[in-house]
Symmetry: C2
Subunit: 479 residues, 2 copies
Amino acid sequence: MFVNRMARYEVLSEDALEHIDRGWRRLVTELGIEFLHPEARRLLEAAGQDVDGTIVRLDPDFVLEQVALAPESFTLHGRNPAHDFVVGGEHMAFCPVQGPPFVRRGSERREATLADYDDFCRIAQRLDDFDTAGFLPCEPNDRPLDSRHLDMQRSLVELTDKPHGGAGISEVAAQDSIELARIVHGADRLEAEACIYTVVNVNSPLRYDDRMLGALLEYARARQAVIITPFLLMGAMSPVSIPSALVQQLAEVLAGVALVQLVRPGAPVVMGSFLSHTDMKTGSPGFGGPESALGLLASGQIARRYGLPWRSGGGALTSSPAVDAQAAYEGMNTMYPAFLSGANLVIHTAGWLESGLVASFEKAIVDLEIVRMLREQFTPLEVDEASLAFGAHEEVRHGGHFLGCAHTMERFRTCFYRPLLSTTDNFERWTRNGAHDAADRAGALVTATLESYETPPIDPALRDEVRAFVDRRRRELGD
Amino acid sequence: MFVNRMARYEVLSEDALEHIDRGWRRLVTELGIEFLHPEARRLLEAAGQDVDGTIVRLDPDFVLEQVALAPESFTLHGRNPAHDFVVGGEHMAFCPVQGPPFVRRGSERREATLADYDDFCRIAQRLDDFDTAGFLPCEPNDRPLDSRHLDMQRSLVELTDKPHGGAGISEVAAQDSIELARIVHGADRLEAEACIYTVVNVNSPLRYDDRMLGALLEYARARQAVIITPFLLMGAMSPVSIPSALVQQLAEVLAGVALVQLVRPGAPVVMGSFLSHTDMKTGSPGFGGPESALGLLASGQIARRYGLPWRSGGGALTSSPAVDAQAAYEGMNTMYPAFLSGANLVIHTAGWLESGLVASFEKAIVDLEIVRMLREQFTPLEVDEASLAFGAHEEVRHGGHFLGCAHTMERFRTCFYRPLLSTTDNFERWTRNGAHDAADRAGALVTATLESYETPPIDPALRDEVRAFVDRRRRELGD
C-alpha cells in the first residue's frame, strides 16, 4: 500500500489551532450534542455527562480522555492477508466512490443495479490502486431495500478478497455485516482485530440519529472500525465559514469517538471529514472548489493534533455532470490536498460524478490516473551523487542529446511515470487513431479492466456458509 | 496582484540541497558552459574565467559573487502604472501561454495569425487574472518573420497597458523592443527601472547560442529584465533523472545570471525553470506529469536558496490534444505546484494545449478557473473568535439548517468562491440548457470576454510615434 513519506502541508497556525480547540469545547459544553438513541445517552450519563432530554452536554476533558483511548493506527484485515492495510500514520488507503444511486457508462446514465455494483467490486479487486471496494460503490436499486446489504456483502466476499466495509444504515444491517465478517474471519479473530469497517455519518449539525447510532454501537461492541464523518455542506449543515465548519466537525467527531470508546475502549475509530459548500446561487452542493480543498488541508492537521487516523472526503469530487475538464480539475483539486495532508483513508477516490449522484466508470479511470500521478509525486526524490549523473553530462557535453546516451539506455524503461490514460500523441497521430478524448479512452480501459478481472479463490465451504446466511437473513427480512 | 502568503512546500532536504550545490559547481568547473557569442566570452575572460575555444569553465565562487549582485525582487512597469507588478518575494504574476504556432477555437485548429495574437492581447488586458500578455501568446504566422516582432509589440502597446515582454530571438529584434520601450516609457525611466522583459532560452545542455546571447546582452546593457530559462525535457536536453536535471538547470541559469551581472551589475534577472520529460515510448515531450510537478517544487526551493526571483514553466501544461479531462488534470498538476512553491512569474498560465503547439482559447478559460480557485485557496484562512460563528450554532441548534440563519444571510453573496466556468447544475437542468461540457461553456466565455474588451486609452502622439518607428524599422528590415 502507499506510504506518504512527504512532508504534510500545514495551513493552520498554532493560534488558529488554539481557536479551534476552544471552539469545539464551547460547542459541546454550551450547546451539547443530540443523541437520538437511548443506549448512547445512558452510556454518556453513566460516565457523568449532562443529559438533558436528547441533548448531552459534554465535558471536553472527559471527551479527550476517551479519545486518547483510541488507537492512532490499526490494520484492516482482508480475506487475503496480502491485502491487509493500515489505517493511520503515513499510510494512505484508497476506496472507490461510495453511495451513488445512478451509474454512467459511456452515454448511458441510469439507476444503478447489483450488476453495476459487482462491476465496481471487480474493478476495485483488479486494480492495485484500490485497497478496498468500500461497501457501497453504487446503490443496487434492483434489490429489495431492507435486505440489499446482504447481497452487497456477498458480492464483496465473493468478488474481492481485499478488506471491505459493512452496512452502517441501521442496527440490524450492522449486525448482519458483523455476523458475515465473523463467518469469514472467525469469531476469535474478529474479537482481536479489525476485519470490517463502516462509515457513520453524523446528522449535522450536532445530531446523531438513532439508526446511525445503532450501527455505531454494534460496530463498537464488536470492536470493528467506525469512521465517524460529519457530512458538512457549509450553508446547509454548517455555517458559511470554514473555521466554524472545522470546529463543528471536530465537536461532532470527538463526541462520537468518545462514545465508541465508552462502549469498547481501544476500538478502532477514524475521524472522518467531508466538508464542502452550498452554491448560494442555486442552492446545490458544490464540490472540488477552494473551500473543500482548504477543509481537507485543515482537517488533516486537526486529526493529527488529536491523535486520530483520518478519512478524507476527497477523493476526486466534482459537481460536473460530464467526464470533462471540470470533472478533472475539481477532482484533482480535492485529491491533491488529500495527499498534501496525508489522508489515511481516501473515500471517493475514483468514479464520483454529478455531486455524488452518479458513479461513472470512465471518471473512475480519470481519477485513477490522478491518484497514480500523485503517488509518484508524493514519493521523496532521492538525491545522491549517482542521481546527479555527471557521467551522462561527460558523455553528451554541450548542445548534445541524451536520448541515446548510456545513462538513458540503462534507465529508459523505468525512469518516468507511465500513464494509464494520458496521451502524448501528436495531433496527426491522435486524429488518425480516432481523435478519442480522455473520457472515450477511459471507456476502453474500463472494458479492458473488467475483461482481465479474475475471481479470487474462495473455500467452497466458506462460500456456501456465506450464501446460506444471506439467504436465511433475506427470508427473515421478508424479501 | 496576487501575493502568496501561504507556506512554501519544500521537497528537498538540506542534504539534497548540498548535493545539488556540489553538482552545479562540478558542472561549471569541469565541463564548463559553451557561449557562442564572442562578447560573452570576452566579458567572462576579462573577469578571470577560463575560456577554451567556445567553452568557458567558471569559478563557482565568482559565479555566486555575481549572482549576489542581482536584485531579489524588482518591479515591472506598464504603460498604466496601476498595472505595475512585482517579480519576487511572495508575489505571483500570471502570463498567458507563450509560443504556440497554432491556435484552436472551438473545432477550428489552424496556424495562428496576428488577429489571434491581438485577441490574446485583448483577453490578457480584459481579465484581472493576467498581469501581462507576455510577448508571444501565439505566433503571428501571417506577418513576415524578420519584422513580426514589431507588429507584435505595436499590438502589445496599443491593445494593453499592462507590462509586457519584448523580443528575445536576436540582437536586432531585442534592440527594436528596447527602443520601443524607450519611446513608451522615456529614456530616463528605462535607465532606472524595468519596463520590459524577455525570456532567454538556454540551448541546453550547457550551451548559450549567439542569437539568445545577443538578446541577453542587449537587455542587460539596457538594464531591462532577463528571464533565463533552460528548457529541459529529460531524456532529450538533460539526463533522465530529476536531480541531474535540477543541477544542470542551476548551472545553466547561474552562468547566465553571472553574465548579466558582468554586463550591468544589479540588472534585474529571473531564474527560469521549465523541466519536463520525454515520453520514452513515443519520443514525444510529456507535460503535466509527476516529473514536471516535482521539478517545479524543487526549482522554487532552489531559487530561494540562491536568492533569485523565479519563473515557473507551469502554468497549466498538458500534452492533451483536446480540452478534455487530461488537459485539466495535467494543467492542475502543474499549476498547483507553482502555487505550492510560490512561483514569482507564471508563464503559460492559460491556453497551453498539445504540448505547447496550440494556443487554445477555451483551454485559457479552463486554466483561468484553475488559477482563480488556487488564488482563493492559497489565501490564508483567518481563524478568530468571530469566524467560529458560535451565534449561528446558537440560532440553528441540533439538526437544523443554516441556509436562512442570520449569519448566512449577512454573508451569502461573498462567503464562497464564485466560479467562472464550473457548474453545479443538476443533470436535468444541465441537459435542459444544452448539456454543454466545460469546453463548450468556455467557448461562450471567450466570446463574452472579447466582446466586453475595451481598448485602453493612449496618447495619440505616443501611438503615432510607435507606429512610425514600427513602419520605419519594418522597411529597413525589408518587409
